[in-house]
Each structure stands twice: as structure tokens, then as C-alpha cells.
Point group: C2
Chain length 198, copies 2
């Protein structure tokens, strides 16, 4: 037995995490072994609290400490706009910009025949249900600009437009600070097509 | 409050780990949030066990479940040879090769004026004490082949040779499967100097 069992167990658990392989897991576990006991205890307690205190918002599936999240309950948000994202982490990214004051809806992924994700695996039913209040006027699709994201956006637009709602999609184009010379053809092409008057 | 406190706490703790930045920590924490509750609990319990069940061997500073590690207590090991390594993880790496059947000694780092590590910060005193049993005949230095490792090796050799012990250092040269054309000059130079008769 080269590696004591309690250490091997932590290595195995850590290597289940995304982007953490066997070697990284071993290095992390050995680092924790040498770390301050209080720091490791605090991490362990944090993990338990994470699962016990945080849930997903019943309305928009954002992460939340209450049944309904702070954004959904806030009186300051524009309730006529719902921004549809793939994951809760996308909400954090958009909120950081301070450019959107509406509500959100987490789809929980995108349509993907390869990974077996179909319409019923996404929170689409739940989104349609939110339209019943008649408050919603615009749906902003903010899915990732890849093939699956685009396909899902098209599907969502086809589904929602007939309900009389405005459907938009966040812009694709050259990233701020980017260099036209080094941008890929698809991005430049899309930026030309999506040009706006100034 | 964009990120609920229990989540932020886990992100902060995870980002203290080596090679894990703020973004990776956030991705890992969100992954754990979506993971099976049992898996997260098992990781949390593993972390507590890690600190409570594993200690460092009193003789060689290897990781161990008992006061003295399995290698130090084993009757099958050659007690005349001690391989000196920087960290306990190096023992795992050497043991995996099955090429060494002696004992080990973990220095706990190398001499490094930049990070303020001096002679008294390493387990050198404890190594010298192990010579008192008169069982030890050879010290094999297996420190990393960088400037600090080389300096520490030279220091150790100067310290130990006068005691009448044989001191060796693991070989530097072209890595197995490597390509001479792409090896760096220092490695090729050292491989030429350290050539052996065949």
C-alpha cells in the first residue's frame, strides 16, 4: 500500500471533478495534507453547507439560499424581460456587467443529440409557464455561440415567437480589445453581417 | 449579493489551493453544487479523515497512518540505503518504479534563499540522527534537477561524506522516449559528461 487509504480516497474524489486529473488530484490532496488543519476543516464544512444551504430557484433555476432567488423576488428588476442562459454561472457573468436589469431563466444545458439532451431535459416547460402572468414582453437568448447553442436558440425562437413575444439574441462580433487581423473568419463574417449604423 | 455566501466561501477556500484560480474555483464549486449530495459528503468526510488519520512518519517524514510508516517498519527493505527526497510525493513516484528497496528521508523542501528556506527549516538534523544506528552505508540524493535542488545536493554531500558514508545522486540525462534533437543544451551536456561504458 503505497498511498494510505484516507489519502487515496480524497485523491479519488478530487479526480472526479472537471479538469482535475489523477496527478493534479494527488498534488492537491498532498497540499491539503500539509495545510493548516483549520483551513481543511473550513473547506469540508463549506462543502456540507453548500449542499444544505443552497438550492435552485423554483422560478428561474438560479442558485439561491431561499426557495425563490433574490433576482426573482427583487422589486427593482424589469419583469418584462427574461434572459435565457445555459447555466447559473452565466447569470453571474452577465450580472457582473451591470448591463441587464431584467429576470433570468436557466435552461440547464442546450439541445445536444450527442450527449443525449433533448427538449424535455431542459427547463423549457417552466419558461413557458412564466409567460402566463402576462408580464413578460421580451426573451433575450444568451446561449453560448457554438453550434448547439445556435440550434437551441433557433428552436427557442420558433417556439416563443408565435406566442406574441419579442425574441432577441445577444450580439456576436469582435470581442472588445480583440484584433481584426487575428479573429477567425466566422467571427469576422458575423460581425460584418451584424453591422449597426453609427 | 451575486453569489450566495455558502457558495462564495467554498470558492474562496478552493482558490487557496495550488494551481486553482478564482475562475476554476467558481467552476468547481458550481459543479459540486450540481453534483450528487453523497459525492460531496464523501469528499467532505474524506478531507476531515485526511487530517485526522494521516500523519508524518517520525523517522522519515513520509505520510503514514501510524507513528512510523510502513517503509520504515518493513523487514523487507534494505536498511543500509537512504534515499533523500524533497517531498513525500517523490516517494510515491520512486516507489512506483520498483527500482529502489531501501529507506527514504523527506527533507521537506530545498535550500532556497528566495523563499527563505534555510538549513534549519529542512529535516537535516533528523537525517543525521538516523546515522547513529550504524546501519546506514549509502545516501542517495534524489532532489529535483534544478538550481536549488543541485545546491542542496552539494550541501548535503559536503555534510555527509566526512561521516564516512557513500553519497550518490540519481542520474541526469536524456529522458527515456525523449528526442536528442529537441532536448535542451543543459540536458544534452549533462548526458555527455555522465556517459557510461557499455
Amino acid at each position: 500500500m503505497l498511498i494510505p487509504e484516507p489519502l487515496q480516497l480524497v485523491i479519488d474524489e478530487l479526480s472526479k471533478l472537471p479538469s482535475i486529473g489523477k496527478k493534479t488530484a494527488q498534488r492537491l490532496a498532498l497540499h491539503l495534507l500539509k495545510s493548516d488543519k483549520e483551513m481543511v476543516k473550513s473547506l469540508a464544512k463549506g462543502l456540507i453547507d453548500l449542499k444544505e444551504k443552497i438550492q435552485f430557484c423554483e422560478v428561474c433555476f438560479n442558485i439561491s439560499v431561499a426557495n425563490i432567488c433574490e433576482i426573482c423576488t427583487s422589486q427593482k428588476r424589469d419583469r418584462s424581460k427574461i434572459c435565457v442562459v445555459e447555466e447559473a454561472s452565466d447569470i453571474i457573468a452577465i450580472e457582473r456587467t451591470n448591463e441587464f436589469d431584467g429576470l433570468y431563466h436557466v435552461l440547464g444545458g442546450v439541445l445536444s443529440p450527442l450527449s443525449g439532451k433533448g427538449v424535455e431535459d431542459l427547463n423549457i416547460k417552466e419558461l413557458l409557464k412564466r409567460f402566463e402572468s402576462n408580464e413578460v414582453e421580451e426573451i433575450i437568448l444568451a446561449l453560448n455561440p457554438d453550434t448547439e447553442g445556435e440550434t437551441t436558440s433557433l428552436y427557442m425562437a420558433k417556439l416563443i415567437k408565435p406566442l406574441g413575444l419579442k425574441v432577441s439574441r445577444i450580439a456576436r462580433g469582435l470581442p472588445i480589445g480583440g484584433d481584426l487581423e487575428f479573429a477567425d473568419d466566422a467571427t469576422i463574417g458575423r460581425a460584418v453581417i451584424s453591422r449597426i449604423d453609427i
